[in-house]
Symmetry: C2
Subunit: 341 residues, 2 copies
């Protein structure tokens, strides 16, 4: 549900009121039932909470909309009237529960609403962000932040670091790992049997043979190494013209060296429809692409587009994963049969 | 005309065969008449060179298409059969003449075709690029590279430097100067009476209050200083969402800190229709947005879109400048009249 004081409840309720979304998944909201109900009423959506599930082994109802109540905050007139400390602690509880349920296989995917990093940290809970939190919970070190829109997918080698420090973080092994995880995930979750991955250069004009910087030689070695692992990968390509080529259909994803290199073209094409996907976790996790937006919370004007896309993407990824496992089971059965003949 | 061995002659001939282009300007090609004629014939454009002007005071013919012959190279079967050294020296001669004519007021604007920096340097002529060459010729130090498309205009604070060295090049005075030149030029040449300029941050999320880098405080001071000079300027804004806002019509131009920050969104939106404009020179100068492309020269497949836009933009800028001067003359006359009354 995201932070109860932000636009999370609103975008979740709006998104799940859509028939097309509920056709591709059985959603379970981890959140606050009173706040969700009031939000739905205020929006006049005629949207009814079909069942409220208590702790049990079977969490997701077959029909209707399930809510797993994890807080009972006292809502005020405005979302921001909710006690900030309680609200932040609750938003963290939803995440923790979601992670544990996903690890236990009780849900097939997580789509997260917006929380405030600062607000959670302010309660004394150490929290560096959703992605890092889930990775820690799963004991994973190799994870990748990917932003996906309909026309463009970008995977980031570095994320929230000063641009001036990116260069020293560009290690060959790290780049190879991002390429591998991206390739594997595109295959497993996005339906690309042989994903075509382009890797962006770091310097203008791709460094022009070392004239404008030397990071390209590291990237180049990483691309070679990844190619040796049977990945369809090329680069480093000058970044300025690369995204046009990707959007034209030449590549399925672009591996980017720094945050804005990937986010500038992505947000230009998919301003409110991009989804943040964490690759490399042992479960599927997508997220909205925006923050808590306290300033417009409760006004009914927040766009639920990104939340819808996050849920839809998570559902599609889960379906692909199922198909893949069925495929493996078929192949395995086939092999067993062959052995017995 | 650009480098005779590249796609320059082809894109110039293709562009100037368009009626709509010849309606907005009286073009004079500085180049090689034999190569231009052969190119036109090979393209079967039915395009006739109306007049070949020799050195004279009146360079641009009122009607038809003028060529000022500055070389007589021996063309081979393919453009690349032309002697590389002679070709490069000739391409430099065209530029030099263009610059001198513009400084003398014999032409109102220059639109340059592609030359090869490496090839010119290879002949022993010191040449750091078109822009630097014209700036040197004009004795100008404060010039700005702007890339302009229909939906987005970006001005660059730094250009062809390693990304890792951009940070130390971000001086307050330099940023103020780029903002000022951009504002002044948008007013003078692009018809914006009060240009709205956005300035991009350097770090992801605009540095998040110093958490991800400190360059934003320098940029911020520069924005304040420029605002004090009566410019409608704001920032630093997080770069990832800024270009969407500019394209939506919130800003007339975005001042960018590094090459790819501006070029990534620009080329994504305007892959073959963007124009490179040098601001701050004492004359109007636009350029194609691509290189010599020796690999496809003479094949007849080069897109002349960028050349067309470069010529059209130069012509429009010249018209705006004329209007502005007429306006000043009107105001001056009016003031003189008022004084005498």
């Amino acid at each position: 549900m995201g932070d109860p004081r932000g636009i999370g409840p609103e975008v979740v309720v709006k998104a799940l009121s859509r028939e097309d979304l509920r056709e591709v998944c059985r959603p379970l909201i981890l959140g606050d039932p009173v706040i969700l109900r009031r939000t739905a009423e205020a929006l006049g959506l005629g949207w009814k909470i079909a069942r409220v599930e208590e702790e049990s082994n079977r969490r997701v109802p077959d029909e209707g909309l399930g809510i797993l109540p994890l807080s009972s905050l006292h809502p005020g007139r405005e979302p921001t009237d909710v006690d900030p400390q309680e609200s932040s602690r609750a938003s963290f509880r939803y995440l923790e529960k979601a992670g544990r349920m996903a690890l236990a296989g009780q849900v097939e995917a997580i789509a997260t609403g917006p929380v405030s990093k600062e607000a959670i940290t302010g309660t004394g809970i150490p929290f560096r962000g959703h992605t890092e939190f889930f990775a820690g919970l799963a004991g994973t070190k190799d994870f990748v932040m990917m932003l996906a829109g309909e026309r463009l997918r970008v995977a980031l080698v570095t994320t929230h670091v000063p641009l001036n420090e990116v260069s020293k973080g560009l290690k060959e092994e790290k780049i190879v790992s991002v390429i591998e995880i991206t390739g594997r995930s595109l295959k497993k979750y996005f339906g690309f049997p042989a994903p075509r991955i382009a890797v962006a250069a770091f310097n203008p004009h791709g460094g022009e043979g070392g004239l404008f910087g030397g990071e390209e030689s590291i990237i180049s070695r990483a691309v070679d190494q990844a190619r040796g692992k049977n990945l369809n990968v090329s680069g480093p390509w000058p970044a300025d013209s690369l995204f046009h080529r990707a959007v034209q259909g030449e590549y399925d994803a672009v591996v980017c060296m720094y945050h804005d290199q990937g986010l500038i073209p992505l947000k230009l094409l998919h301003f409110d429809s991009a989804v943040n996907v964490t690759l490399g976790l042992p479960f599927i996790r997508t997220s909205v692409d925006h923050g808590v937006a306290y300033d417009i919370a409760g006004k009914g004007i927040a766009s639920s587009r990104s939340m819808e896309e996050a849920i839809k993407t998570a559902a599609h990824m889960a379906l692909r994963k199922r198909e893949k496992s069925n495929e493996y089971i078929r192949i395995a059965k086939h092999e067993i049969r062959n052995k017995h003949e």
